[in-house]
């Protein structure tokens, strides 16, 4: 799923802190007395978690808690981006992509001691697909009308049949935390490494180790190592940074490049730059036919050669170097190279050349007069770029672009707007010319982007909700996106989506600018940390982290 993000509501957040050194506690587990001493990890949630029900998760804070407490059938390894067994030891997707069968681990208990079986999976899937529950997680599975069928073959085997084909079906289960059908504790009975022990609204969430967690490490030790995780609810990033510096927090997720540099200046060993993330920043022109902007401007914006020339005239190297201090990579296309499987590796970074851009524009009938570019009807080429105020990176990118385009005689007015006004112009009134915004990408699969690329979609931002595709290339993207969605053959899907990426780079409806690097900080006290670009960056392997000694 792609979401527009503002400077205020940043993406997945989680930063941790492990304060003190080892706190020892004794746990009696499955008859063995094992000394645990992984300590406490501390980090911040940047918003109040809206729910502890894993099926209702929408916000990042709740998603972090779900990741730490929920047991899932299969898990996407944040390092390899491959799918790995969880509660399911094996699984199989049918040829038609409608059906998936899981073989489950046996002898597993929920955190409250209730045994886990295939009935619980059936219950969870029914809940997930219950239209009355409106599960945001369930939306990804809803590809057709009709009911989902769950067939419990044995306590350790289940077959789930969806009414229609679901693309990338198996990976979607990474988000589905299994609920207990029978436990009286409802969603508070969990199968993940941690469980919610205490919640102080507005202040903190305390997670304790789940004594019944099934996983062990290579030496046969029970996971997780940590005794507890203390999550402070703290929206202020400056406070977060300060507390991290004072040693009161152990992790900071998705650091700003400015904060990253500040931290790096004093303690270079704690900061991690994991390279380009999935998140992109892009510029696009308003191509809505009924928008209230002059027709001659619509003609520019709806011309692919105009958009290509603008794209070519933007110095992306400078954007990443000057604005992000090098903690960003020039964007290649709609998918970041960080998306190992889906990125079209044939695509190369776009070259920067003012001269070539100007020449291309002149070929289209534009001409330069006294340093000012005019179209063939003599209209001066002037447009405004809007972006959300308060996001200095976007503001600075806009200023650099303003300067770059000045070189080919284009005058750009940069206007920063409060987020609601910006969204209103972007989605309601279409009273804008160009926008710089970013997209947060939490899903590796292009299926999560159907709502961006289908011309009929609301989030087809440059020209949304088209009754029929207005251009041949948009029609082609529609066809390819549908084709990849209705195929369960990864190779065919990849081919289709590779082509989509090529068309987007050719047509530039979104002029992709940069991919921000995944920046994080981990205090020296935390052992076993390996921050990744995928959310949750720093604590994706929380079960193997420890503070102090094991």
């Amino acid at each position: 799923m792609r979401r527009h993000k503002s400077g205020f509501e940043q993406m997945t957040n989680t930063c941790g802190t492990a304060i003190s050194v080892a706190m020892l506690c004794l746990g009696f587990l499955l008859g063995h007395a094992v000394a645990q001493g992984g300590g406490e990890l501390r980090f911040c949630l940047r918003t109040e978690p809206k729910t502890f029900d894993p099926l209702k998760v929408e916000d990042d804070a709740s998603a972090s808690i779900r990741y730490l407490t929920g047991g899932v059938l299969v898990r996407v390894n944040r390092q390899t981006q491959d799918l790995e067994p969880g509660l399911a030891v094996s699984w199989k997707v049918s040829k038609d992509g409608r059906q998936i069968s899981f073989r489950l681990r046996s002898g597993i208990l929920f955190s409250d001691g209730t045994p886990f079986s295939a009935e619980d999976v059936a219950y969870t899937v029914q809940q997930l697909m219950d239209p009355a529950l409106h599960s945001p997680t369930g939306d990804a599975f809803r590809s057709g009308t009709g009911n989902v069928e769950t067939n419990v073959v044995s306590p350790s085997q289940i077959v789930i049949t969806f009414p229609a084909q679901v693309a990338g079906l198996d990976r979607l289960f990474d988000q589905v935390a299994i609920l207990s059908q029978r436990s009286s504790k409802k969603e508070m009975a969990v199968l993940g490494p941690f469980m919610v022990a205490d919640y102080k609204p507005g202040s903190s969430v305390l997670l304790k180790r789940n004594p019944n967690y099934w996983k062990t490490d290579e030496q046969g030790r029970k996971l997780p190592y940590l005794d507890s995780i203390h999550l402070d609810i703290q929206p202020n990033r400056d406070v977060e940074l300060l507390r991290f510096k004072r040693g009161e927090l152990d992790l900071i997720n998705s650091l700003d490049s400015e904060y990253f540099d500040k931290l790096a200046a004093t303690s270079p060993q704690v900061v991690h730059d994991a390279g380009a993330s999935l998140d992109s920043e892009q510029l696009w022109f308003n191509e809505v036919a009924k928008s209230p902007i002059p027709n001659y401007k619509k003609n520019w914006f709806r011309s692919a050669s105009f958009r290509r020339a603008i794209s070519e005239a933007i110095n992306r190297e400078d954007l990443s170097r000057v604005v992000f201090h090098g903690h960003a990579q020039p964007a290649v296309g709609p998918f970041s190279p960080a998306n190992k499987f889906w990125f079209n590796s044939k695509l190369k970074p776009q070259p920067y050349s003012s001269d070539a851009a100007l020449k291309a524009l002149q070929d289209e009938g534009f001409r330069m007069e006294n340093g000012t570019l005019k179209d063939k009807d003599g209209n001066e080429v002037v447009f405004s770029i809007i972006t959300n105020s308060g996001n200095k990176y976007r503001e600075r990118m806009a200023v650099l672009i303003q300067d770059d385009l000045q070189k080919i005689g284009i005058r750009v007015n940069v206007v920063t707007l409060d987020f609601p006004s910006l969204i209103e112009r972007m989605t309601q009134t279409f009273d804008y010319e160009a926008i710089i915004l970013g997209l947060t990408n939490v899903d590796l699969d292009p299926n999560g982007e159907m709502n961006v690329w289908l011309s009929s979609s609301e989030n087809h931002q440059w020209n949304p909700q088209q009754k029929a595709p207005e251009t041949a290339w948009e029609a082609e993207i529609d066809r390819l996106m549908r084709a990849q969605a209705s195929s369960s053959d990864p190779k065919k899907r990849k081919e289709a989506f590779d082509r989509v990426q090529e068309i987007v780079v050719e047509q530039e409806p979104f002029i992709f600018l940069i991919n921000k690097n995944a920046l994080s900080a981990v205090s020296a006290a935390v052992q076993g940390a390996a921050p990744m670009i995928l959310s949750p960056q720093t604590f994706w392997n929380a079960e193997r982290l420890f503070v102090g000694t094991k």
Partner: protein
């Protein structure tokens, strides 16, 4: 003229000349980006260093002074005149006028300004030049910033209305508007001066803050407000003292004006 006043004069003259002569004094235009030398400390090429986008800070301070020093006092003057007219006149006329003016003032104070300003921005076209944008913003500030002063003026003017010298002037046959402008307004001067001088720094900062609503000076044009924004999030004063130049300039200029004019007042009194 005291030593302080002379000093204030010299400072103001220097600042004014500097801003007027920005074209010759500045090593580059305010928008010129030295992308290879961003956020640089002062050097021979860039006396006050460069900002995040590699623009010469000295040039931006000079050009920013030109904008703010011209427009902030203009807006302050506008708001002071509004306060004098609305508060002073209502207080002087008394009765229903005073009640009406105070009701309007209360209404003004209770309006949700944020939303009105957002509406104002929505009504403005996106493609306005940075200069127009900053001018409109200062005008809005001038049109909105009069309320508190108007209340004080209303009470002051009401007490003046009953004073002997107004009665005496009435008996001398002065027409009502002469009475107001010649006899009432000069006695409101202390309040008006205060309003004027307080407004200038307030407006300069407000202009910067209105940037979040898409009002105020637009990139790449500098104003004192936008220059002061650089100080946001600066951790320590010691590290990069040159970034404080715009702030010091603001304080020095406002103080100089005050020294110069308050001394004149004292002499007059």
């Amino acid at each position: 003229m005291s030593l302080w006043q002379k000093l204030a004069c010299v400072i103001l003259a220097l600042v004014l000349c500097g801003s007027v002569a920005a074209n010759w004094l500045a090593p580059a235009g305010y928008a010129k980006q030295y992308r290879e030398a961003t956020d640089a400390p002062p050097s021979r090429a860039h006396w006050l260093g460069t900002d995040e986008m590699g623009r010469d800070r000295f040039a931006r301070v000079l050009y920013g002074t030109r904008i703010s020093l011209l427009l902030a006092p203009a807006a302050a003057l506008l708001s002071t005149l509004m306060a004098a007219l609305i508060g002073g006149l209502a207080g002087y006329l008394g009765g229903i006028w005073a009640r009406m003016a105070m009701a309007v003032t209360d209404l003004f104070l209770s309006l949700p300004w944020l939303f009105l300003l957002i509406t104002a921005r929505a009504l403005m076209p996106l493609n306005v030049s940075p200069l127009i944008s900053v001018m409109v913003t200062f005008m809005l500030l001038g049109l909105l910033g009069w309320t508190t002063a108007a209340r004080v003026l209303c009470t002051t003017a009401a007490s003046l209305r009953g004073s002997d010298f107004v009665r005496q002037a009435q008996a001398a046959g002065l027409p009502a508007q002469r009475l107001f402008w010649v006899h009432v307004v000069p006695n409101l001067k202390p309040v008006l001066y205060a309003q004027f001088w307080i407004s200038i720094p307030v407006f300069i900062l407000s202009e910067a803050n209105l940037g979040i609503l898409g009002l105020g000076v637009a990139e790449p044009m500098p104003s004192w407000g936008s220059l002061l924004k650089e100080l946001e999030g600066l951790v320590s004063i010691g590290e990069e003292p040159w970034k404080f130049v715009p702030l010091i300039l603001l304080v020095v200029v406002v103080t100089s004006f005050q020294v110069l004019l308050s001394k004149q007042e004292e002499m007059a009194a």
